[in-house]
Every structure is written in C-alpha cells, then in structure tokens.
C-alpha cells in the first residue's frame, strides 16, 4: 500500500477518530478510485471534515489505516501530500498580504516549480485581476477561489474540497462545478465534501453517505439513486390488527401506522409477490383493503430524512 502506484486515490480501513467519548469518524472503509469526482455527503456534524482532517494528517487517527495516492499516511505523509491539494473548512489566509503573496508562502513550502504555477492557478479560479489586493478585502467567494488556487499550485493528483461552494454566488457555483469536472477530465481525483445532495449529484460520479461518523452507503450516483427503499402504503379497515398480523408474518420490512394507513418499508429490490402476499394475509383475516400503493423512496428523500435530524444528540 505504500508504493504510490495504487489504483485508489484514497483507501481507508477501519479509520476511527474520537474526541473524548464522541466518535467523530467511526470505522470508515473508503475506496476512492483515481480519476473520479467523489462526493462525501452527510449532514452537518456527520464527521465529514474530521475525516478529511484525519486523512491529511491535520489530526491523528485513533485506529485504522489509510493511504493517499498509494502512500501510507502518516508514515509517508510528506510523499502523499506532495500531490494533494485540499481546502478544509472555510479557507483563511493572512489578511494583510495579497492573494499572490499568500500563494507564494504556500508555494515555498512545496517544490520549487510550484511558484511558477501561481499565475496559472489564479487565472484558472478567476481572481488573477485581484491577485495583488489584500486578502482582507476579498469576499468569502474570492477566498474560496483562492483556496482552490492554493490547491492547484501543487499540481495535485488528488484534490479534497470541503464545502467548496460555500460563499459562492450561483454563477460561481456553476464555474466551480465546471472546474471540478475539468480537473477530473485531466485525470485528477476530486473529493467533494458537502451536505448538499444536489451539489454532489451534479458534480460527482460516485459518493459515500456518512452519518454519525460512519459511512452508511457508498457507490456510484446512479446505483444509489436506483436503490432507494420501497414503502408500501396500505389503507385498510383495521390498521392495528394489520400491524399485528404483518409483524407475525416476517415480511422482511418494518411496519408503522399513521392514522388509517399502514406504511410498510421494504428493501429496494422487493418483489411484487411480496405485495401480493401482504394483500393475501390481510384479506384472509377479513381486513378490507381500500388502497395499496408502493412508493419508491428516492435517495434524496432518504437523505433529507437523515439531514432533518439536525440538533439531535450525536
């Protein structure tokens, strides 16, 4: 795993980071292939930024292994990060210096060629004309762009962008998405951390959904969108008895009651025969069925369910 030629841009196994009793990153296994735009999606407080900080060596992992671009971290951290660019949280810089001077400081910490990439990076993110202004006069969006430029001066193979759309206006967000796609087209890997499914959906090829520090689903966007759970809504004459019956039948889902309606949540690939079996069981016990409707739960709906628990105890 330490050759630098792995097919994975990021590889983690059982990665764990705790803050006291709070497990911010909980046994995360990630395999992010090179040359993709990969979304790391989760609600606020899910542990996205902590995972990124752990990957970059900004904080120490408590357990597990990880590698970036095939190099073990933290053992070969310097080699791994030589071709990694990252924005973590809100990008902040020395306010009394210009954008160009800030990049000069960062370029000096990289290889000598990095200094020669400053203008190109500034131009690519669209702030070359303001490069000599003091950063304290930059808007939030301009600082985001400067943060991306700071990533680009290292000619990175892997970019890790934490909420890069923050502070950008709609046009800026559009440009950022285009730039991310262009970077991927150049063969780079972009990991986009966000709490906005729409943003990830528009930009990424694959994603991992994280909650309470754990990766709960991982895969290509198409696969995940196609694989939402099925909720069978049943309006019947005796919902309480129906719940008892269906629970005893082990139908492979969970049954809840809302008013006169049952909501039976089933796995995504549930066959129609299961629906028929449910109907048969109910009618066999003289429960009248007025309506039986399978509703496919989209990933977005499911994700909204997850993100709607903001403020819950972690």
């Amino acid at each position: 795993m330490s050759t630098g030629t792995s097919e994975w841009a990021i590889e983690t196994h059982g990665l764990t980071k705790k803050f006291g009793n709070n497990v911010a990153v909980d046994r995360v296994d990630l395999l992010i292939p090179r040359g993709t735009a990969f979304g790391y999606l989760g609600p606020n407080g899910a542990g996205k930024t902590t995972l990124i900080r752990t990957l970059l060596g900004l904080t120490r992992a408590d357990a597990g292994t990880m590698s970036l671009l095939g190099y073990d971290v933290p053992k070969h951290r310097d080699r791994a990060l030589a071709r990694v660019g990252a924005i973590v949280d809100e990008p902040r810089f020395h306010g009394h210096l210009s954008g160009r001077q800030n990049l000069q400081i960062l370029a000096a910490a990289r290889e000598p060629a990095a200094r020669g990439r400053i203008d190109a990076a500034l131009e690519r993110v669209g702030i070359l004309q303001r490069a000599n202004d003091r950063v304290s006069k930059y808007s939030m969006g301009m600082r985001q762009r400067l943060g991306v430029a700071a990533c680009l001066i290292g000619d990175p193979q892997l970019l890790i962008l934490d909420e890069p759309m923050n502070g950008l206006d709609p046009a800026g967000m559009h440009e950022m998405r285009d730039m991310i796609r262009a970077l991927v087209d150049e063969g780079r890997t972009v990991v986009l951390s966000s709490h906005l499914l729409d943003e990830v959906q528009r930009t990424c090829d694959a994603l991992a959904i994280v909650d309470h520090g754990r990766v709960i689903q991982q895969g290509s966007i198409d696969t995940l969108l196609a694989g939402g759970s099925v909720v069978l809504k049943v309006e019947c004459s005796d919902p309480s008895q129906a719940v008892t019956l269906l629970t005893q039948q082990s139908i492979g889902g969970t049954v809840t009651v809302a008013g006169d309606e049952l909501a039976i949540t089933l796995p995504p690939e549930t066959s129609r025969d299961v629906f028929a079996e449910i109907a048969r069981v109910l009618t066999a016990h003289n429960i009248a069925i007025y309506r039986l409707e399978p509703v496919k739960t989209s990933l977005e709906a499911w994700f909204l369910q997850v993100t709607s628990r903001l403020g819950d105890p972690q």
Binding site: A80, Q101, A109, R110, P268
Partner: protein, 378 residues
C-alpha cells in the same frame, strides 16, 4: 444497496515521486524569504519596532540638539557617554526586548490564528521545518533594526559629545595626562580653589564670587592669611593630583571597544527575546498572552530577581534570563533596570552559569514551541 466504488474505471496513474525533501526539518531558502516577507508586511508591528529601535533615539537627538542650539548655556552638548548609555541600555535594551519578543510571539502564533497553518501542513512540509524557517526570517528583521538603532545612538552620542568635563560650573579639557592636568590647574588656580573638589582646607585670598557658590568648596575661614599666587598654583597642582583618578575615569564617549561590546550584548538580548517569544507564541497558539508574559518577565520579574536578597531562591534568581544577561553586560555601563532603591545587592553568577542559563532559555523554549507545532491539530 451494493457497494460499488469502482463504478468509474480507475486510471491507476502512478504518483510521481516528489523531487524535493519535503520531510526534511531544514527549511528552504524560499520558505525563509516568504516568511520574512509575511512578517515585514505587518505594518503596525513594523512601525512599533522601528519607532522603538530607531525612532526614540532620533527623536531624543532632535529635541536635545535643538535645545542645545537654542540655549547652549542651559542645555549642554546632547551627546557623550551618558547619552550613549541612557539610549542604548535604558531604551534599546529594554524596549528592544519587548518588540523583539512581540515579533517572535507573532511569528509563532499567527499562522494558527489566521488559518494559514492548515494550508502549510497540507503541503506535506515538515512542521519542524515550518517552525525553524521563522527563526532566520524573524532575526532578519530584529538584528538589522537593532543594529541601525544602535548605530544611530553611537553616531549621535559621538558627534554631539561635549569636549570638556563638567565639574560643577567648571569645565576641564578632556584627555589630559596627570602632568597636563596639574599644569591646567596651575594656570586656572582660581577655578580649582573655588570649584573643584579637594580634601584640604580652602585657602584664603581667592575671590570666588564669580562662581556664585556653585563649586564644591566652602569659603575660607574669616581672618585666614591669604596665599600668594605661587602658593595658590602649588595648591592647585596638589588638588589636580587628588582629582586625577576621578578625571581619568571619566569618558566623553564610550570607547569603540565598549560600543562594539554593548552592541553585541543588545543584539544577543534581542535575539533571545525573539527566539523565546517565538517558542512561547507557538506553545500558547496566540500572541497577546505571550507578549504580556514576556513584558512581565522583562519589566517586573527581572529587576526583582536581580535585586531581591532571598537566600533560598538564589539559584532560581540566577536562572532568570535577565539576570544572566546582566552578567554579560560590558564593564563600564550600568544596568537598565534595578538601580536605586537604596539596595546595593545584586545577584551574581559566574560567566559560565550565565551562558548556560541563556542557552537553556533558548533551547527549552525553542523545543517547546517546535514540539507544540509538531503535535498540534491543524
């Protein structure tokens, strides 16, 4: 739901081996120069540093010279040894420490407080190299500024130094040998009798009214027999012999050797202040408290530690940086703080101990600052 992270074909592009020594603790030249730039462009801090190291001596020079030009009888020549000592030890040594410490604390903490530390760590560069780069960068500001300020003081104190020594209202030419001083006394016996200090009874027969009683001597006893001119000249020669040890110990100016030693001593103190401030700033992660602690050390703890007579804590007192620095103070100049108060006690220590104490301060605080930087979450 299936886990298909390989939905997009992986290009398996190998990462090129880095061409630099990013993990090395030795900073590159460009890391030092860009760090220098970052510090130099802190306008408020630079103005404060320039004001203290260069501005105060220049302002003093302008005011004292103007007063001397306007009213030379009241305000003597503004330069000379006392001015050199007052400005170099009283101003540059004391406040140079504070501003050098402030610069060090700034260099040690602003990357963290301004959010740049994270960017720097992500480059993969050794954190130790990031820390070490700040030392030459900061010293590149501190050392020249102190040198310029000190040179200004030296030039001013020499250029505007008086040409005579003042003994009360009398002025004696500088640089006389014992014989020459006796001859000068014989030629100016009236001044000697009326003004200069001597242990013999004051001779009669000299009219001292012109000196207005501003000398060291009481009028002679009524009825005393007036001396002849030759006797007065002989008396003056004897008084000159008596005066010579004090006369020869006075300096119109600091010698070149003393200036060099004093300059190096002040530079050493400013360097120590910067390095310790850097370590403390890095350790605490913020500037204000670090600067306050350094000021307390220099302005409060050091004078107390150097003058307080506490037998049980004498070795602790010797371990204070300012006390050790005081041991290295060149002979011929007095302490910056701690004089007066009717207490002549000073903590003493050997030269070796003083050097060891200073080295320990530099090493320990640098190690603490570097350790914290290497271990800190970014």
């Amino acid at each position: 739901m299936s886990l298909t992270t390989d939905a997009v074909p992986a290009p398996a592009r190998p990462a090129p081996a880095p061409t630099d020594h990013r993990g090395s603790p030795i900073p590159t030249w460009s890391m030092i120069t860009t760090r220098f730039m970052e510090l130099r462009r802190r306008r408020g801090l630079m103005i404060a540093m320039i004001f203290v190291t260069i501005g105060i001596p220049v302002i003093y020079a302008v005011i004292a010279t103007t007063l001397h030009i306007v009213d030379p009888k009241t305000y003597g020549p503004p330069g000379g040894f006392n001015t050199f000592q007052g400005l170099s030890v009283g101003v540059l040594y004391l406040f140079g420490f504070v501003v050098a410490a402030a610069l060090g604390a700034t260099a040690g903490s602003v990357d963290l407080s301004e959010g740049m530390f994270r960017h720097l760590v992500i480059t993969g560069r050794s954190r130790l190299a990031l820390y070490i780069a700040r030392i030459p960068a900061g010293l590149g500001i501190v050392v020249p500024l102190v040198a310029i300020g000190f040179t200004t003081i030296c030039v001013f104190s020499v250029a505007t130094a008086p040409t005579t020594f003042k003994y009360g209202p009398a002025s004696i030419p500088a640089g006389l040998s014992s014989t020459q001083l006796q001859q000068w006394a014989a030629d100016n016996y009236q001044t000697v009798v009326c003004v200069l200090p001597y242990s013999q009874p004051t001779p009669a027969g000299v009219d001292c009214r012109a000196y207005g009683g501003g000398g060291f001597n009481q009028p002679s006893a009524p009825g005393a027999k007036p001396l002849t001119e030759a006797q007065l000249q002989a008396f003056a020669r004897t008084a000159a012999v008596e005066l010579y040890p004090d006369y020869s110990s006075r300096h119109l100016n600091a010698s070149a050797s003393l200036m060099v030693k004093t300059g190096l001593w002040i530079e050493l103190e400013a360097i120590a202040a910067f390095v310790i401030g850097l370590g403390l700033g890095s350790l605490l992660g913020q500037r204000t408290i670090a600067v306050i602690l350094m000021i307390i050390l220099e302005i409060i703890i050091t004078p107390l530690a150097s003058r307080a007579h506490i037998p049980h804590l004498i070795n602790v007192q010797r371990g204070i940086l300012g006390v050790a620095m005081s041991r290295l103070r060149p002979n011929g100049i007095t302490a910056a703080l701690g004089g007066g108060g009717g207490n002549d006690f000073h903590v003493t220590e050997s030269l070796g101990v003083a050097i060891a104490v200073i080295a320990a301060w530099l090493i320990v605080w640098s190690a603490l600052g570097a350790w914290r930087m290497m271990k800190r979450d970014a």
